[in-house]
């Protein structure tokens, strides 16, 4: 028989460590021993701060309307997609609802269609009539093989944002620009060496040649893409090749485009170049206007917007760039309740109007478009009602077909665009080689796995 006695003097490392150990044990008991809140929990993962702030303000209303439901909003920032991937791989720990970014969704669609970790929302959307109430082309990024795995958060139509003052100084009236040919003519007048030192001081447009962003803008605008609706690779189509030839010509032949300063359009370097008057226009989705307003407020009143130049008179004047969806995971224990929260956050008219107020994001719900806020003059654009322009373009948004191989394809597409613009390869060579690589990749997987 033996017994234990504990006193501070007998503790191996003395009093200090013992106090720390006791505090540690007490806090552990406190953390793990506290009782769970009663009721049903819904966990909702988010990666964007602005979305998180919006839902934080609105979720208490949902909880009040649904007594007993506790919504846990978790904002993981940029690492959220990796965490979701791990949770889906381990079949444990995924949230009930989650927002996924458009360039990240592809990886979640790999494997057999029945093994995809999101609930197919098509039956609910169709039976409740939501398909007709939203811009239908906007479901394409979140659909695969006939199933809809997410509801669009946004439309992200793209406009041409331009420096009215500097184009006018060059004798160009941008509102008269209707097609890309018009733009090239206008751009040649506005791209100038102002101080006569033989170097161009202002370029008509800034384009990203490091990534697929702007090239893909132009390709989607014409109804093209990397994959078609059935998952076939179409990046070596004549349309895609001609578009890349056009894109490279803006830099090398017409010399009216400058590569993006820094690493992307939102780089401080790019903003500095804009403020210096080095950049006269940019292809801007709605969210980018929000970034401009917050990052370079001093440029208020200097910008104006028109629809993107069309490829032929009367053609489509917009494209789409970026996006987020909300989905219900298969690990969700009560999909019906999650669906109610989804509708509350994505289909509530007043919530969507608030969203536009803070982020300038145009909602996919058509019923929200007649709200007066979308017609309000925008001070940043010298009083032009930008919301009205976006809504006017929104119904014409092109489809952007999703594919499980998008991440690999986009990575290789970045290289192909850079090779073409820097004239290491012709556009045809770059895209033909790219298409071959992606087809080989897919064929290899199909050989290993068989059709799924």
């Amino acid at each position: 028989m033996f017994h234990l006695s504990i006193d501070a003097e007998g503790f191996p490392l003395g009093k200090g460590p013992m106090v720390m150990l006791v505090l540690f044990l007490i806090s552990t008991l406190f953390i793990f021993g506290r009782s769970e809140e009663e009721g049903e929990d819904l966990e909702f993962w988010i990666f964007a701060n602005t979305h998180y702030e919006e839902y934080q303000a609105r979720v208490p209303i949902f909880e009040a309307e649904n007594p007993g439901v506790n919504v846990r909003l978790i904002n993981f920032g940029g690492t959220m997609h990796d965490k979701l991937l791990a949770a889906m791989l381990s079949n444990f720990g995924a949230p009930d609802l989650v927002e996924v970014e458009i360039t990240s969704i592809g990886r979640f669609l790999k494997g057999a269609i029945d093994e995809i970790g999101f609930v197919d929302l098509r039956p609910r959307l169709e039976s409740e009539g939501w398909m007709d109430k939203l811009v239908v082309s906007r479901f394409t990024p979140w659909s695969y093989r006939g199933r809809i795995f997410g509801v669009p958060h946004d439309l992200h139509p793209v406009v041409l944002l331009y420096r009215d003052d500097l184009f006018k100084a060059a004798g160009v009236e941008m509102t008269a620009v209707e097609t890309w040919d018009d733009f090239i003519n206008a751009g040649k007048k506005a791209t100038r060496d102002l101080d006569g030192d033989g170097k161009i001081d202002q370029y008509a447009i800034v384009l990203d040649r490091r990534t697929e962003s702007d090239y893909f803008n132009l390709l989607l605008q014409q109804g093209g893409g990397f994959f078609d609706e059935d998952g076939n690779v179409i990046i070596d189509s004549e349309l895609a090749i001609e578009t890349l030839e056009f894109f490279t010509a803006l830099f090398n032949e017409h010399e009216i485009a400058t590569p993006v300063y820094g690493t992307w359009h939102g780089d401080p370097s790019n903003f500095a170049a804009m403020q210096d008057g080095k950049i006269l226009s940019i292809l801007a989705p709605d969210w980018y206007v929000g970034i401009l307003k917050s990052q370079v407020p001093q440029m208020s009143g200097k910008w104006k917007a028109i629809g993107m130049p069309a490829w032929q008179p009367g053609g489509r004047r917009t494209t789409t760039r970026g996006g987020t969806m909300i989905g219900i995971t298969k690990q969700c224990e009560n999909p019906e309740r999650a669906w109610e929260l989804l509708k509350f956050t994505y289909f509530d008219r007043s919530g969507l109007v608030n969203r536009y107020e803070t982020t300038r994001i145009i909602p996919p719900l058509k019923a929200a478009w007649d709200a007066p806020i979308f017609k309000e003059p925008d001070v940043y654009l010298g009083g032009q009602p930008l919301g009205e322009l976006f809504i006017q373009l929104a119904p014409d948004l092109p489809a952007r077909y999703q594919n499980p191989y998008w991440s690999e394809a986009a990575d290789l597409l970045n290289d192909a665009i850079f090779a073409a613009v820097t004239e290491k390869q012709t556009s045809r060579e770059a895209l033909t080689e790219l298409a071959k690589k992606v087809r080989t990749l897919i064929a290899k997987d199909m050989n290993r796995w068989g059709e799924m």
Partner: protein, 305 residues
């Protein structure tokens, strides 16, 4: 904590107590081994097995044997990432370590004042997380208003440090120098302070000048420290990830900033090719092992003296 036993303990219980005492050390070290098995042993074996498979979506996988390895050796982006990583490693060894040694020698000299302050200043960058260093240097390399181009623009060229293929890795190497030279300096400084003063005195008696003393006394005495710093820096260089990932926005343009670990991350997390990613991990392990052994051999660490 005191453990007290009763003086008149029966024989059987004493035997039992002796057995407990034999077991006790194993129980005390058990937590480490348990954690090691769960967090190191199992993942290591699992990743080795995984390198022989490829994922088929989230729920199933398929055996591909050495298919991932043969694919990897024919993958141009892997070779480009390996080249970039080697470029960084060579840049680190040839630029960062001599600078670190030079700083250590300066701070070890009796002519420099404010040594403690300088030591702190040179060491401080290590305390900044790699992600923040990358964000800061994004501004330093800024094409329009960045600190470096503000100087270089005087020569008439606005360098796109992070935008032109040829400048990307030099930009990453320079950032690495800023962050890690001070850290390695501390090792060299410790090594320098451990060299016996009599050796320098003996060299001086033999008529050696400063340079001869450096070559024949300082460098040989520093050999174990140099070997350690070389090997650790080389391993760190081969594992490079966060700095170029943030600086170049994922390795662009044209994979000019891609490194092996970045390519591993992309395959594992962005392309959902976990088997291929595991293969890259194991190939990286063998590269590190071979390079480290060769380095140690060349630096004479295996020599018996």
């Amino acid at each position: 904590m005191k453990i007290l036993t009763h003086p008149n303990e029966p024989q059987g219980k004493i035997k039992n107590w002796n057995q407990q005492q034999k077991m006790a050390p194993y129980l005390f070290i058990a937590p480490f081994y348990l954690l090691f098995v769960v967090f190191m042993g199992y993942p290591l074996i699992s990743s080795l097995v995984m390198s022989l498979y490829e994922m088929r979506g989230f729920q199933s996988r398929i055996f591909v044997g050495f298919g991932n390895f043969t694919d990897l050796f024919g993958d141009p982006i892997f070779w480009k990432s390996l080249r970039n990583t080697a470029y960084f490693a060579i840049g680190t060894l040839t630029l960062q370590l001599p600078i670190a040694l030079l700083l250590a020698i300066l701070l070890n000299s009796k002519f420099v004042k404010g040594k403690n302050l300088l030591r702190l200043a040179f060491f401080a960058p290590v305390l900044v997380a790699g992600v923040f260093v990358a964000i800061i240097f994004n501004l330093v390399y800024d094409q329009r208003a960045g600190l470096i181009n503000q100087e270089f623009v005087l020569f008439g060229k606005e360098i796109g440090w992070l935008n032109e293929e040829n400048y990307v890795m030099p930009a990453v190497i320079l950032t690495g120098v800023w962050q890690w030279a001070g850290f390695n300096m501390i090792y060299f400084l410790a090594g320098l302070q451990g060299i016996r003063q009599e050796l320098y005195e003996a060299a001086a008696v033999d008529g050696a000048n400063w340079w001869q003393a450096f070559i024949h006394v300082t460098l040989p005495s520093l050999r174990p420290v140099i070997a350690f710093v070389f090997v650790v820096s080389m391993i760190g260089s081969l594992q490079l990830f966060d700095l170029p990932y943030i600086l170049t926005n994922g390795g662009e343009p044209a994979d000019a900033g891609s490194t092996i670990v970045m390519y591993l991350y992309k395959n594992g997390f962005q392309f959902m090719r976990l088997g291929y990613a595991a293969t890259i991990g194991w190939v990286l392990f063998f590269i590190i092992a071979v390079v480290s052994i060769v380095q140690l051999k060349l630096l004479g660490i295996f020599r018996e003296e």
